[in-house]
């Protein structure tokens, strides 16, 4: 459905993207993860047809972004990081504007608008001015503006920035519904847990380079071995000898091919030494850990 082929982009001497390559299957949700300044927004802008001067090409459903940009734009609904709304106008006015920009009109536009208002949960507030809305409601309307023309592909650039957990949950349910409807979604975020939760496949990007991409299972298979997490006031590194360990939070991660076996052994040892662990549990690596393995930094450090 989407084929990104050797896309590079520079701003002067700064290489924002370096020969990025990946493909996204139809009807899947692809998560693009990386710290601020990694190149996510630049790639999103290129995919959405906003940035036109770059090397390489992107083919969306047989159409080239560089050669057939109007056809590509019609296929895409872009949800930018910024709230692109006319605050002095109503939710309805904002939806009408974007519907018309995608060529909708008359009854068709009004029907689509009612559908979208239902989908984003703003039907009852549709005649209110946007400036009266909460941050979460504005975010939902921002998404709604991209859905009017029923795009096959929805690009979402950090759609949950700066909102409360309840609004985030509400946005997740909109995304789940879009996935169920068969939309292809490209979701950019620096919240790893969001991407893990929502996306079928993931691309990790840092300093303009796509470090890795694939399904979460494939990434875990390649980079993440389950380990054992141990913490407690009296637990020291020597109590875990001879297993290889790394520090994590207040405790240690014990890395071994058979963490269940180690767990059994450690329980016996702690009983003998009368040590009381606060936490002793199997730890399954997360995207954050894979990112750490690939870059040597935690995403939140950025």
């Amino acid at each position: 459905m989407i084929e990104v082929a050797r896309v590079s982009k520079s701003y002067g001497n700064l290489q924002a993207l370096a020969s990025i390559e990946f493909t996204i299957d139809k009807g899947t949700c692809f998560g693009l993860v990386g710290p601020n300044g990694a190149g996510k927004s630049t790639l999103m802008k290129i995919l959405a047809g906003i940035l036109q001067h770059f090397e390489g090409d992107i083919v969306v459903d047989r159409f080239s972004v560089t050669k057939e940009k109007q056809a590509v734009k019609q296929l895409i609904g872009y949800v930018p990081q910024e709230l692109c709304l006319e605050e002095t106008l109503t939710a309805r006015d904002n939806l009408l504007l974007f519907g018309r920009l995608y060529g909708l009109s008359g009854k068709d536009l009004h029907n689509r608008m009612e559908d979208v208002l239902e989908k984003i949960g703003l039907a009852e507030r549709s005649k209110d001015k946007v400036l009266k809305f909460s941050g979460g409601m504005k975010r939902r309307l921002n998404i709604g503006c991209a859905l009017l023309h029923e795009p096959a592909i929805i690009i979402m650039d950090e759609p949950t920035v700066g909102i409360d957990p309840q609004s985030r949950k509400s946005i997740f349910s909109i995304i789940e519904q879009l996935k169920a409807d068969g939309s292809t979604i490209i979701y950019s975020s620096h919240y790893m847990e969001e991407v893990e939760h929502l996306c079928d496949s993931i691309g990790l990007i840092d300093k303009g380079v796509l470090l890795e991409n694939g399904t979460m299972d494939r990434l875990l298979e390649k980079y993440g071995t389950p380990s054992l997490y141990v913490s407690g006031d009296t637990i020291e590194a020597e109590h875990l000898h001879p297993y290889p360990i790394t520090s994590k939070g207040d405790g240690f991660l014990v890395i071994d091919a058979d963490p269940l076996f180690v767990l059994e052994k450690l329980v016996i040892r702690f009983r003998e030494l009368e040590l009381q662990p606060r936490r002793l549990e199997l730890y399954y690596p997360k995207l954050e850990d894979i990112f750490f393995q690939l870059t040597g930094t935690m995403l939140r450090d950025n």
């Binding site: 047809g49 906003i50 990081q81 709230l83 692109c84 002095t88 106008l89 009408l96």
Partner: protein, 247 residues
């Protein structure tokens, strides 16, 4: 294009600031200055009103640039420009959609001010067709410069300051505040390079001397040429404007 134009017009109608700058303030200026100058001996009343009313009409058309700058900077800061660039709308339609409502507002402004002059001060309106064409060209000039300024300036404050320099400086040098005949020779030469001067000359020719379209071809040509320069600057600055836009 009409989607943008309709939205922009709706926003502008709700904007109280634009009503003040466009209609209330110019009418106040006209009332005050006609009151001050109409009592002077040796000056014909008709000459005073055909200087002051079109003079202030021309000057205040340029204040639309403030609203244009604010609109465009807001679009840039909110990422609206990039958002619209992601839709199938062509660049030129975005500009046209933004421009048309301001053009309508300026034409409405000129109509209101001249109607006010006609009803209150018995201002002669001359050939209606010439007046309409002259007003179209004047509105084109003011809004095209507004467009150029809007895509070039870095901030709202910079845009407002430059607009005031252009509007007030142009009014002073272009002879909008006082008849050019009473100004020093050097000023009379300088004013020929100021588009505002040609705006007023065109209107004076229609209102004072009963001129038609053929009699105002020189002011029309100059306003058109200056307006085209504004449009070209705006088009060439669009890529930078888009680059600076948040998304």
């Amino acid at each position: 294009m009409w989607a943008i134009a309709r939205t922009e017009l709706k926003k502008n109608i709700q904007d109280k600031g634009i009503w003040f700058w466009t209609f209330i303030l110019p009418i106040l200026f006209i009332v005050v200055f006609v009151a001050v100058f109409s009592g002077q001996e040796g000056v014909e009343y008709k000459e005073i009103i055909t200087q002051i009313i079109p003079g202030y009409a021309v000057m205040f058309t340029f204040f639309i640039m403030i609203s244009m700058v604010i609109t465009f900077i807001k679009d840039r800061e909110r990422g609206m420009v990039a958002r619209i660039a992601s839709t199938p709308l062509p660049v030129q339609s975005y500009f046209l959609g933004k421009w048309v409502p301001f053009m309508i507002i300026v034409l409405l402004q000129i109509a209101v001010l001249f109607l006010f002059g006609f009803l209150v001060y018995d201002l002669p309106l001359g050939d209606p067709m010439a007046l309409i064409v002259m007003s179209l060209f004047q509105a084109f000039l003011a809004t095209s410069w507004g467009l150029a300024m809007a895509v070039l300036v870095k901030s709202e404050n910079m845009g407002i300051a430059l607009t005031q320099i252009l509007a007030l400086g142009g009014a002073l040098l272009g002879g909008l505040w006082m008849p050019i005949e009473i100004m020093p020779d050097i000023m009379q030469t300088i004013c020929k390079f100021i588009p505002q001067y040609w705006g007023l000359e065109g209107y004076k020719e229609i209102l004072l001397h009963g001129g038609g379209i053929l009699d105002i071809w020189v002011p029309l040509t100059i306003l058109l040429a200056c307006g085209v320069v504004g449009i070209l600057i705006a088009i060439s600055g669009y890529r930078r404007y888009l680059r600076l836009s948040k998304s």
